[in-house]
């Protein structure tokens, strides 16, 4: 299976505001796109960021789907929203990368070219016979993001379609069809603290003319750039962190940052929750002392229930100590 090897350090959406030494779940949204420089580089110029290894990443997605087609889930009423998100993301990419991606069209007939993947496709909106596969899979394998689609019914949001190959220890097959509150029931304090309802309110008030983004973080469940840490494949990766802890090899712990874009689709009114997963090992974070120190502070202070939910409670203090030691060591090492 394809493995992505390049660390995302230079384009990492650093999720912690300068000066913050603690972390709690919040509806931390901001308008997108907006280029945001960081101590290591910058991020956020485009809604769809192709990333540092675009072609291998698209290859990896195809491999994961070939092995487990169930990573695409589309409830029958969601097909129109799948067309909608496909066209929307094509427009985004054509705007962002006109040299390599173009969308031309009139009425319902379009011509899409993605020269990076050698894709040249004429299609008619709504006619499944004009695409090689369903529209969600077709576009999902041309963007690094996992794509989640939500619809509104009865004053609630329902998670009724998605293509997810890079889940952090959750299962799209199990979660599809749930409503917003039901999905988030296992997250400590999220519903009782009112965050679930505020997040849902925010999404329900999204309009088609403004996109928002939010960064979320954890440590990856695997101490390598391996991306498929879904609940489905847990038997394959569950021994990795225990081995890492036994070796004291905290430099290979991956800071995993999910950059989420929240979009109201123009044709169907369905909501998009796109997740682009960025990863960088702590050995890279340690090269930016201000980041290493801030992350160590936050990880150390994290309440036990949040740390347990993130799956990092058993080793977070060791990881924080490692970060502090490394970032204060002479730069020559």
């Amino acid at each position: 299976m394809t493995e992505l090897l390049t660390s995302d350090l230079t384009c990492l959406p650093w999720p912690f505001p300068a000066g913050d030494e603690t972390f709690r779940y919040a509806v931390n949204v901001e308008p997108a796109p907006r280029y945001t420089p960081t101590l290591a580089g910058g991020w956020g110029r485009h809604v769809v960021d192709l990333g540092l290894e675009y072609v291998p990443m698209m290859q990896l997605k195809r491999e994961i789907l070939a092995k487990d087609p169930g990573r695409v889930q589309i409830l029958p009423h969601m097909i129109p929203a799948c067309w909608d998100v496909m066209l929307y993301l094509m427009r985004q990419m054509a705007d962002s990368y006109p040299e390599t991606m173009q969308l031309a069209g009139q009425g319902n007939r379009y011509h899409w070219r993605n020269t990076l993947l050698d894709i040249d496709q004429h299609f008619e909106m709504g006619d499944l016979a004009t695409l090689p596969e369903d529209p969600l899979t077709f576009i999902g394998c041309q963007v690094p993001d996992d794509i989640l689609l939500l619809t509104e019914r009865h004053d609630q949001l329902w998670f009724d379609a998605a293509i997810v190959t890079f889940a952090a220890d959750w299962s799209i097959k199990f979660d599809v069809g749930m409503n917003f509150n039901e999905i988030h029931r296992p997250v400590p304090g999220l519903t009782s603290g009112g965050i679930t309802s505020r997040a849902q309110q925010f999404m329900r008030h999204l309009t088609t003319d403004r996109i928002f983004r939010r960064a979320n973080w954890t440590f990856s469940a695997v101490g390598s750039p391996h991306r498929d840490t879904s609940l489905e494949t847990r038997p394959e990766w569950e021994d990795d962190i225990p081995n890492l802890i036994a070796d004291g090899d905290y430099g290979r712990v991956q800071l995993r940052i999910e950059l989420e874009h929240l979009i109201r689709l123009p044709l169907t009114g369905a909501l998009v929750f796109n997740i682009h997963t960025y990863m960088a090992p702590l050995s890279d974070i340690a090269t930016i002392p201000a980041w290493a120190e801030q992350l160590a502070d936050i990880v150390t202070e994290l309440p036990a229930d949040i740390a347990a939910y993130k799956g990092i409670d058993s080793y977070r203090h060791h990881a924080a100590r490692w970060l502090r030691t490394q970032s204060s060591a002479p730069a020559s090492t």
Partner: protein, 165 residues
């Protein structure tokens, strides 16, 4: 009186079923799944309360949750559905009702008791019927792995989640 009975069941807390049953329905289908005394006692109480509120009531007894579909197919706008029974069958009934387009406010449930549960294995995509509760370990009927049952449930699949620990 504007409603009968309140529910603190997990599905009511997350808005999948009604937190209380309103009295604005045109007809109330009261459904007992199975014949456990705690199941039928609840349905009888609903029937008495609705009768004293002068509401139209139809009583049904079903062997399992899947049978709810036929009742929904034959119903019309304004129907309210109240279901009592064992947890696994009530969960099945909720999934069937949802798929048929019943809204959360139209569906009220009471879990009278818990016996077997249906458990979803994400590793092999198989359901296992087991006498278990969250935090118990069961053997998957598909891949034979030991699975730790989690408290997370899906009203779409009518199953508990489990995974290797």
């Amino acid at each position: 009186m504007t409603s009968i009975d309140d529910s603190d069941d997990a599905t009511a807390q997350v808005g999948i079923t009604a937190a209380s049953m309103d009295l604005s329905g045109r007809q109330y289908l009261l459904i007992a799944i199975g014949d456990a005394p705690s199941t039928t006692a609840k349905v009888d109480k609903w029937a008495r309360d609705l009768a004293s509120a002068h509401r139209a009531v139809a009583l049904y007894s079903l062997p399992d949750g899947a049978g709810v579909e036929d009742l929904i197919d034959a119903s019309t706008v304004g129907v309210r559905i109240m279901i009592s029974g064992a947890e696994s069958e009530v969960m099945r009934a909720i999934a069937v009702a949802r798929a048929a387009g019943i809204l959360p406010c139209e569906l009220f449930i009471h879990i009278s008791h818990v016996d077997v549960i249906n458990v979803f294995c994400p590793h092999c995509d198989t359901a296992t019927r087991a006498l278990a509760r969250p935090d118990h370990t069961i053997e998957c009927s598909g891949c034979a792995r030991d699975l730790l049952v989690r408290p997370h449930t899906s009203s779409h699949r009518a199953m508990y989640l489990a995974s290797v620990a």
